[in-house]
């Protein structure tokens, strides 16, 4: 591994710890892109009779 890559890898190993997908962001993602669309689809499904 050359020096530039080694330096960047070390920096990434330090920095990454502060940047996970946290619970509130995950919850927001689930609500907006999974729960609401599924509810909308069910409404549309009910519309079909």
């Amino acid at each position: 591994m050359d020096a530039e890559l080694a330096s960047r890898v070390e920096a990434l190993e330090r920095d990454k710890l502060g940047n996970p997908l946290d619970r509130s962001t995950f919850t927001l993602l689930v609500v907006t892109t999974l729960v609401l669309p599924v509810v909308a689809l069910l409404i549309g499904w009910g519309w079909l009779g």
């Binding site: 990434l12 996970p20 927001l28 993602l29 892109t33 669309p37 599924v38 909308a40």
Partner: protein, 501 residues
């Protein structure tokens, strides 16, 4: 070694924090400019064959958002946290050599999308210019080829200086395209009215309403999952994971749905348009509205092609031999050459098999996402081995001679599940399609298979957590519970629970 451009490293190198400069506007702008292109009109036109405006609008929007959920969950957190694009992000699941499969997949899909966009734009542009009475009569073939090559040269020129251009160009294109979309929508509504649009019946539905409905949902899901190769390239420059999700949902999900619905409306009230309102705009408003439609097409398709070529060049640079020998600009040019070849020599046969190409993307990417989600969140708890990702000499993700059999098995099972539930070429539904769609079961089947294989095949998971080193060297928590432990000390003020969420 990668070429440095304006301080950013475009190649196999991980980004430094100082190089992750994209805020929410840049992420939104680039995801939106990537998502919106002529294909939205074409897909909207397909939707009109199966359902009307009301149910179609719901189904395509909801399906797109569900697909965005799958693609973002799989690709975004690893991209923002570790700076990985699509190819490198699959090293933990497929192995350091197995990720070549992803490289092949990504290159085929990106070159395919870029070719589709360029051909769409060149053909529609040639027709629109002709309809508006542009001087200089040229044959269709020569005209579209010339426009296609001009588009490729323009994209190359725009990417000359690397992704810094995207940071500025993405939002500009997105806002312009949004305004032009609004104009097209207003023209449609003024010309036909809500009543006419919502009373219009589907153009060629199948006998069963629920099957029609689910086909549209599947079009939305598969179309959005097809963004997986783009997500890493688009979000790795984001300052944070949290700050990238909302703008990406708005850009890839909401903006794309908006244009899909415009295509649906246009196809319902002007069936011969196939969802593309360009010619209709020229007929209604003459050259002035024709120019609006033409401007929309140029901005939308060039913006998407630019992002696609950037992602393609970045994928190429993940191959160490290419990264060492080829500059960023050369990789960009290499990404465009196949597109020019397709536009010049194979435009008609390629477009004749457009549906097969779409099916290929849909069938393969759902399983890749399923495998990646299980690996990143359940097996590794959001902790990847940085050296395993970037250091070619690392043994962490080497598995069996560089290949992880669990990943290949999972993708195989996922593809099989998709094909059982839906014939992807002719769109003939199989058992369970009406209730499950096809991409969702394929994603689930792949994820479950991957989990089972990683747990059941001796040594696979353990070796990819330890790189073959004794666990005692790696810290007590992982050794005791099987949960990956951060390879570096936890900074003050940050609990280990947060880091392993």
């Amino acid at each position: 070694m990668s070429t440095k451009l304006n301080g950013s490293s475009e190649g196999s190198m991980p980004l430094r924090r100082s190089e992750q400069t994209w805020g929410p506007l840049a992420v939104f702008g680039n995801t939106a400019s990537a998502a919106i292109a002529t294909w939205c009109f074409i897909t909207g036109g397909w939707v009109a064959y199966y359902v009307g405006a009301g149910r179609g609008g719901i189904a395509i929007t909801a399906g797109t958002l569900i697909g965005v959920f799958i693609a973002l969950l799989a690709a975004l957190p690893a991209a923002t946290r570790y700076g990985v694009e699509a190819v490198r992000s699959t090293r933990p699941q497929l192995g350091v050599r197995g990720a070549w499969l992803t490289l092949a997949l990504v290159l085929v899909i990106l070159v395919g999308w870029n070719s589709v966009l360029t051909i769409f734009l060149s053909q529609a542009g040639h027709e629109a210019l002709g309809a508006m009475g542009a001087p200089g009569e040229v044959s269709q073939g020569l005209g579209t080829t010339t426009i296609g090559v001009i588009i490729c040269v323009a994209v190359f020129a725009l990417l000359w200086r690397g992704p810094d251009v995207l940071r500025l160009a993405g939002p500009t294109i997105a806002i312009a395209v949004l305004i032009l979309s609004m104009i097209i929508t207003v023209v449609l509504l003024v010309e036909f009215g809500w009543g006419h649009i919502f009373d219009a019946v589907a153009l060629g539905p199948l006998p069963d309403d629920r099957t029609n409905y689910m086909i549209v949902i599947e079009l939305g899901i598969a179309g959005a999952v097809a963004w997986w190769p783009y997500v890493g390239s688009l979000t790795r420059h984001s300052r944070s994971t949290r700050g990238a999700f909302g703008p990406a949902v708005l850009g890839l999900g909401v903006m794309m749905s908006l244009v899909l619905v415009i295509g649906l409306f246009a196809a319902l009230v002007v069936p011969e348009s196939g969802g593309n309102p360009t010619m209709f705009m020229i007929e209604v408003g003459g050259p002035a509205l024709g120019l609006v439609a033409l401007a929309f097409m140029v901005l939308a398709n060039v913006g998407t092609t630019m992002v696609g070529v950037y992602a393609c060049a970045l994928a190429l640079k993940q191959v160490p031999a290419i990264d060492r020998r080829m500059s960023w600009r050369a990789a960009t040019a290499l990404s465009l050459l196949p597109v020019i070849g397709v536009v010049t020599f194979f435009a008609d046969p390629f477009m004749a098999h457009y549906g097969t190409f779409l099916a290929f993307a849909g069938v393969t990417l759902g399983p890749v996402c399923g495998m990646q989600i299980v690996d990143y969140y359940i097996l590794r708890r959001q902790e990847l081995d940085v050296r395993g990702l970037y250091d070619e000499s690392s043994t962490v993700y080497r598995y069996w001679r560089g290949f992880n059999p669990a990943g290949f098995l999972a993708i195989g099972v996922g593809v099989a599940a998709y094909v059982v539930v839906l014939d992807p070429v002719h769109f003939v539904p199989g058992p369970g399609f009406t209730y499950l769609s096809a991409t969702v079961p394929a994603t689930l089947a792949s994820g479950l298979t991957y989990y089972a294989a990683m747990k059941l095949v001796p040594g696979l998971l353990r070796s990819s957590l330890t790189g073959g080193r004794p666990e005692a060297e790696l810290g007590g928590r992982r050794a005791a519970s099987g949960v990956p432990t951060p390879a570096v000390p936890v900074p003050p003020g940050m609990s280990s629970e947060v880091t392993s969420q």
